[in-house]
C-alpha cells in the first residue's frame, strides 16, 4: 500500500494539526485596538487627533467641575469660597449653589410647595401608567384600565378640584358611546360618529357644568355653617401664627447677619494670604523680566526711565488682582521688545505714573508675614463650617418664608370666603333682580349702541349721542354687577362644596413640571391624531384627503412659535366673549397639532413602505377597513416608523421650551428670572447644564426605548 502511495500520490498528510493558539495580534484587546483604532495611517491620525481633542475638552472642564461649590447663597459667596480655597488667579469652579438654592423652582415653577407631593405622585403614576403600554408582554393587559384612567387622574392631581370632575369628564366618553349606539341602527357609521362627537361635546359643555355646580351646591349647603365656623377660627388663629413665623424669621435673619459678619472676618486674612501666595511667583516672574530689561537698558541712556515703570506693574490687593496682573505682565514683556526712544519716553512715563501707589502696596503684600499652612488650613475649615451654617440657616429661612406665604394665603382665602358666605344670601336674593334689571336695560338701549360690548373711547366716542353712551354705561355696569354677584355665589359654592384637592391655577405651573405636562400630553395625543391624519392623507375620499393634506401642510409650514403666539393672542378672538380658556391647555393643543402633522408624515412613510399585498390579503379575508388597518397595516407601518416617531417626540419635548416666549415659565424662562435676581446675576453655565441634564435624561430614555423596541420587534418577526 505505502509503496503504491509513494509512487502515485503527490502528497499525503500523515499527522493532523491540532488547533493552535492564535497570534497575539488576533485576540483580545490587542486585536480590537489594531482593528478599530490603528488599522491604517488615516485611522491612526484620526485616533490621535480625537484623543487630543477629548483630552483638551476634558482637561479644561474637569477642574471646573472638581471645584464645585454647593454651600453658597449667592454668586458673590461662591467666589469667596473659591478664592478661599485656591490661589488667586486659578479660582474657576462650578457654582452649584444656585441649583441648591433654586432647584425646587426649576422643577416645580411656582407650584405651591405644600402640594409638591401631588406633582411627584402624578409623575410616579405616569410611569406606572406607561408600563403596560411600553412593555405589553411583561405586564398583564388588565393594567391598561389604569393607563386609560391616568390622564384624568393626572389633571385632577395637578389642577385639583372636586373628585367627581375627572369622573364626569370620563363620563363624557360614555355619553358619546351611548349616542353612537343609539344613532347607529338608524343613521349608519358616519352619522353615529358625528352623534358621538356631538354627544361628548354636549355633555362636557352643557350637562357637566350643570351637574358639577349642582353637586357643589348640595354639598356646600349641607356644610355651610361648619365651614364658616372653621374659617372664622382660622381668621382668629392665623395672625398669631404668622406673627410667630415672622419673629422666627427675624431671629434667623439676625443670626444670618451675625454669621455673615463672622464669615467676612475670617475670610479677610485667608484672602490676604492667598493673594500673597499668588503674588510671590508672579513677582518672581516680573523680576526675571525686569532683570532681562535692565540688561538691555544698560546699553542705552533710557535705563532710569524704564526701571521704574517695570516695577510698577504689580497691582494686587483685590481678589481680582491676578486678572489685571497677567495682562500687565504681558505688557511689560511687550515693552521690553519695543524700542523706546526719546520721543515716546514721556508718553510711557505718563501712562505709568498713576500706578505708582500700587507698587508700594504690591510689594507690601508680597513681603507680608507668611501664614503657616496649618493656620491657613484651620482658617479655611472654619470658613467652610460657617458657610455650611449659613446655607442651612438660609434654607430654614426659605422654609419659614414658604410657611408665611402659605398662611397668609390661607388667611386671605378665609377672609374672602367668610365675606362671601356672609353675603351669599343677599347675593342669591339679588340675582333675579339684577338679572331683570340688566336685561331690561339692555332691551331699552337705543339701536345705535345696542350691539356694543364696551363704551367707545377717543374719537370713536363722537359718533354717539351723549345720552346713548350714558345708557350704555349703565347697562354695562348693571351687567358687571350681575356677573360679579353670580361668580361670587358660584365661587362660594365651589369652595365650600369641594370634596377633593385644593385647586392650583395654571398660572402657578412652571419649571420642568410644565415641560413634562405639555410634552407628555402632546406625545400621548399627537400619536393617534397623527395616525388618523396619515390614514386621511392615504384615503381615496376626496374631502378627507384634501383636508388632511391641507392641515398637515399648513401646520408644518408655519413655525411652532407662530402657532404658540396664535394660541396666546388670537385664539380668544374665536371664542365666545367671557370664556376664559386656559393658556396651558391652549399651548398643549397647539403643540399636539404641530407634532401630529409631523407624526402623520412619518407614519405615511411607514404606510408607503408596506407592500400592497398586505392590505389586499386582509381585504381578501373579509376584514373591514378599520380592522385591516388596526390588525395588519398599522402594526407593521408603525414598526417601520418607530425611529421617526420617537424622533418627533424628542423634538416635541424639547420644543416645549419655546413656551418661554409666550410668558410661561418653563425651566429656561425660570433661568431668566433666577439670573435677574441680585443673588445670582451672572450665573449661566450651572443653570443651563442642570436644565440640559433634565431634558437629556428624558430624551435619552426615549431614544433607548425606541432602540429596545426596534430590536425586540426585529427579533420577533424574523
Amino acid at each position: 500500500m505505502s509503496e503504491i502511495h509513494a509512487h502515485t500520490t503527490l502528497y499525503v498528510r500523515d499527522t493532523m494539526i491540532d488547533q493552535q493558539v492564535p497570534p497575539l495580534t488576533q485576540k483580545g484587546g490587542v486585536k480590537w485596538v489594531r482593528e478599530n483604532l490603528f488599522s491604517s495611517w488615516l485611522n491612526i491620525v484620526l485616533t490621535i487627533l480625537s484623543i487630543a481633542a477629548i483630552w483638551y475638552i476634558v482637561s479644561h472642564l474637569a477642574p471646573w467641575f472638581l471645584n464645585s461649590v454647593w454651600n453658597a447663597g449667592s454668586l458673590t459667596e461662591c467666589r469667596e469660597i473659591l478664592a478661599a480655597h485656591s490661589l488667586v488667579g486659578d479660582a474657576g469652579g462650578a457654582c452649584w449653589g444656585v441649583i441648591r438654592d433654586r432647584w425646587t423652582q426649576l422643577l416645580f415653577g411656582f407650584y405651591p410647595p405644600e402640594f409638591y407631593w401631588r406633582s411627584i405622585l402624578a409623575l410616579g403614576l405616569l410611569f406606572v401608567a406607561l408600563l403596560p403600554v411600553l412593555f405589553p408582554q411583561q405586564i398583564s393587559s388588565r393594567f391598561y384600565i389604569f393607563s386609560a384612567i391616568y390622564p384624568f387622574l393626572m389633571v385632577w392631581l395637578l389642577w385639583g378640584g372636586s373628585f367627581w370632575v375627572p369622573i364626569l369628564t370620563m363620563a363624557g366618553f360614555g355619553a358619546g358611546y351611548l349616542a353612537y349606539r343609539v344613532i347607529f341602527p338608524f343613521g349608519g357609521a358616519i352619522a353615529a360618529t358625528v352623534a358621538a362627537i356631538l354627544g361628548t361635546l354636549l355633555w362636557w359643555l352643557v350637562a357637566m357644568p350643570l351637574i358639577n355646580d349642582t353637586l357643589h351646591r348640595i354639598v356646600a349647603e349641607s356644610r355651610m355653617e361648619e365651614t364658616r365656623a372653621a374659617r372664622v377660627v382660622l381668621q382668629e388663629t392665623l395672625p398669631a401664627q404668622i406673627e410667630e413665623i415672622d419673629a422666627a424669621r427675624n431671629a434667623i435673619n439676625a443670626q444670618i447677619a451675625e454669621t455673615v459678619a463672622r464669615k467676612d472676618e475670617i475670610l479677610r486674612p485667608i484672602i490676604a494670604e492667598q493673594v500673597r501666595r499668588s503674588a510671590v511667583p508672579l513677582l518672581a516672574d516680573v523680576s526675571a523680566s525686569l532683570a532681562d530689561l535692565s540688561e538691555q537698558s544698560q546699553a542705552s541712556d533710557l535705563a532710569p526711565a524704564l526701571i521704574i515703570p517695570k516695577r510698577m506693574f504689580l497691582p494686587f490687593a483685590t481678589d481680582r488682582a491676578s486678572e489685571s496682573l497677567a495682562p500687565l505682565l504681558t505688557e511689560i514683556k511687550a515693552a521690553v521688545s519695543v524700542n523706546i526712544t526719546e520721543a515716546n519716553l514721556a508718553d510711557v512715563q505718563a501712562s505709568i505714573a498713576p500706578l505708582k501707589a500700587n507698587i508700594i502696596e504690591a510689594q507690601a503684600i508680597a513681603q507680608a508675614d507668611p501664614m503657616p499652612d496649618a493656620t491657613l488650613a484651620a482658617a479655611q475649615a472654619e470658613f467652610d463650617t460657617i458657610m455650611r451654617q449659613l446655607t442651612s440657616l438660609r434654607e430654614n429661612l426659605t422654609a419659614l418664608g414658604a410657611d408665611h406665604f402659605r398662611l397668609s394665603e390661607q388667611k386671605r382665602a378665609a377672609d374672602g370666603l367668610v365675606r362671601n358666605i356672609d353675603t351669599l344670601t343677599q347675593n342669591l336674593a339679588n340675582l333675579p333682580d339684577l338679572r331683570a334689571t340688566a336685561e331690561q336695560a339692555r332691551a331699552d338701549l337705543p339701536e345705535s349702541v345696542a350691539l356694543l360690548e364696551a363704551v367707545p373711547s377717543g374719537s370713536a366716542r363722537s359718533n354717539y349721542e351723549a345720552e346713548d353712551l350714558t345708557a350704555l354705561q349703565s347697562v354695562l355696569s348693571a351687567e358687571q354687577g350681575l356677573i360679579a354677584a353670580d361668580s361670587a355665589v358660584r365661587s362660594t359654592y365651589n369652595e365650600v362644596g369641594r370634596i377633593g384637592l385644593e385647586p392650583v391655577p395654571s398660572s402657578a405651573f412652571g419649571g420642568f413640571q410644565l415641560s413634562l405636562v405639555i410634552g407628555v400630553t402632546g406625545i400621548v395625543l399627537s400619536l393617534p391624531l397623527g395616525i388618523l391624519l396619515a390614514l386621511g392623507r392615504q384615503s381615496n375620499l376626496f374631502i378627507i384627503n384634501k383636508v388632511s393634506v391641507g392641515f398637515i401642510e399648513v401646520i408644518r409650514g408655519v413655525p411652532l412659535i407662530v402657532w404658540l403666539l396664535t394660541a396666546q393672542f388670537l385664539l380668544n378672538y374665536f371664542l365666545p366673549p367671557g370664556t376664559t380658556f386656559d393658556l396651558v391647555l391652549r399651548v398643549i393643543i397647539m403643540v399636539t397639532l404641530f407634532a401630529s402633522a409631523y407624526i402623520a408624515e412619518v407614519v405615511r412613510g411607514g404606510l408607503a413602505a408596506l407592500p400592497r399585498g398586505q392590505s389586499e390579503a386582509a381585504d381578501a379575508l373579509g376584514l373591514d377597513y378599520w380592522r385591516s388597518m388596526r390588525l395588519i397595516v398599522l402594526p407593521q407601518a408603525l414598526k417601520i416608523s418607530i425611529p421617526g416617531i420617537v424622533n418627533t417626540f424628542i423634538g416635541l419635548f424639547k420644543d416645549t421650551t419655546l413656551v418661554l416666549f409666550i410668558g410661561l415659565y418653563d425651566p429656561l424662562g425660570l433661568a431668566g428670572t433666577i439670573r435677574a435676581s441680585t443673588d445670582w446675576n451672572g450665573v449661566y453655565w450651572e443653570l443651563f447644564i442642570f436644565i440640559g441634564v433634565l431634558f437629556f435624561i428624558f430624551c435619552f430614555s426615549m431614544g433607548r426605548y425606541s432602540k429596545y423596541l426596534e430590536n425586540k420587534l426585529q427579533r420577533e418577526n424574523h
Binding site: 399585498g613 381585504d619 381578501a620 373579509g622 373591514d624 420577533e716
Partner: protein, 263 residues
C-alpha cells in the same frame, strides 16, 4: 413538473359538479385608466367546479379573478358570487370576501403574526369565533397542509412552499365555499411547487370550487373540469382539459400551447 399531478390516482367520482351556480360573470368589462383590460367576460362557474385559467402575461387572468372578490372594481357588467351581486355596497363586499378564499403569488402572509395567529385572525375578527375554537380550526387545517409543527413560528422562518401552504390554510380557516388561486406556484422553487400542488389537489378532491390562474399544465390536466385560455383581456377558448390540450381550436391557443409545452 407537469408529471407530478398526473402520477397520482385522482378519484374523480368525489369531484362532482353540481347544477348550482357559484359564480356568474356577465358581460363584464374593466379598464385601468384608458386601457381596456377585460373585455366582455362571460363566465359561469358551477359549484364544485375546478377551473384553470391560463394565458400569456398581461392577458387579464389575474385581474379577472381579483374582480371576483372585488380586489379590483369592474366598470360594466355584473358579477354574482353565491347569489350576491358585487356592487359598491361595502357590506356585500365584505360578505363575499369572507366566503371566497384567495391565495396570492407572493403568499402575503402577515409577517408580524405567528403562523397560528395568521390563521386565527380572520375567524376571530370576522366570524367572531371564540379564540380557543379558532385555534382548533387553525390547527386542523395546518395539520391538513402538513405543517402543524410550525404553528408558533413567524412567516419569515418558513420556506416559500411552507408559506404558500400556510396561506392556503389561512384561507380555509374561514371555511370558504370558493377558492381563488392567483399563480400560487410561480414564486416557488421547483421542489416546492409539488408540495403546494399536492395540497391543492387534495382540496380539489374534497369538492372545493376552485379558480386557479396557473401555468401548471399537469395540474390542469389532472384536476380541472375546464381550462380557460385568455388573451388580450378576452376569453379566447374554454374546454375540458383533454380536448383543450389535444385539440385546441383557436390559432392563438395553439401558438400558446406550442410555446409552453414545446420543450
Amino acid at each position: 413538473m407537469a408529471d407530478t399531478a398526473t402520477e397520482r390516482e385522482i378519484d374523480h367520482s368525489q369531484m362532482k359538479v353540481s347544477e348550482e351556480v357559484a359564480i356568474q360573470v356577465t358581460s363584464m368589462n374593466k379598464w385601468f385608466g384608458t386601457f381596456h383590460v377585460l373585455r366582455d367576460i362571460n363566465l359561469t362557474v358551477y359549484r364544485g367546479e375546478r377551473i384553470v385559467i391560463c394565458g400569456p402575461s398581461g392577458s387579464g387572468k389575474s385581474t379577472l379573478i381579483r374582480c371576483i372578490n372585488r380586489l379590483e372594481e369592474h366598470q360594466a357588467g355584473t358579477i354574482i358570487v353565491d347569489g350576491t351581486e358585487l356592487s359598491s355596497d361595502i357590506k356585500n363586499i365584505d360578505k363575499i370576501r369572507s366566503e371566497v378564499g384567495m391565495c396570492f403569488q407572493h403568499f402575503n402572509l402577515f409577517p408580524h403574526l405567528t403562523i397560528l395567529e395568521n390563521c386565527t385572525l380572520a375567524p376571530i375578527w370576522v366570524r367572531k369565533t371564540p379564540k380557543k375554537e379558532a385555534e382548533e380550526i387553525a390547527m386542523h387545517f395546518l395539520t391538513k397542509v402538513k405543517i402543524p409543527e410550525q404553528a408558533l413560528k413567524y412567516p419569515g422562518q418558513l420556506s416559500g412552499g411552507q408559506q404558500q401552504r400556510v396561506a392556503i390554510a389561512r384561507s380555509l380557516c374561514m371555511k370558504p365555499r370558493i377558492m381563488l388561486f392567483d399563480e400560487p406556484t410561480s414564486a416557488l422553487d421547483p421542489e416546492m411547487i409539488k408540495e403546494v400542488l399536492d395540497t391543492m389537489i387534495e382540496l380539489a378532491e374534497e369538492g372545493m370550487t376552485m379558480l386557479c390562474v396557473t401555468h401548471e399544465m399537469g395540474f390542469a390536466q389532472a384536476v380541472a373540469n375546464r381550462v380557460i385560455f385568455m388573451d388580450q383581456g378576452q376569453i379566447v377558448e374554454q374546454n375540458e382539459p383533454r380536448e383543450f390540450f389535444n385539440n385546441p381550436q383557436s390559432d392563438r391557443t395553439k401558438l400558446f400551447l406550442s410555446q409552453i409545452l414545446g420543450h
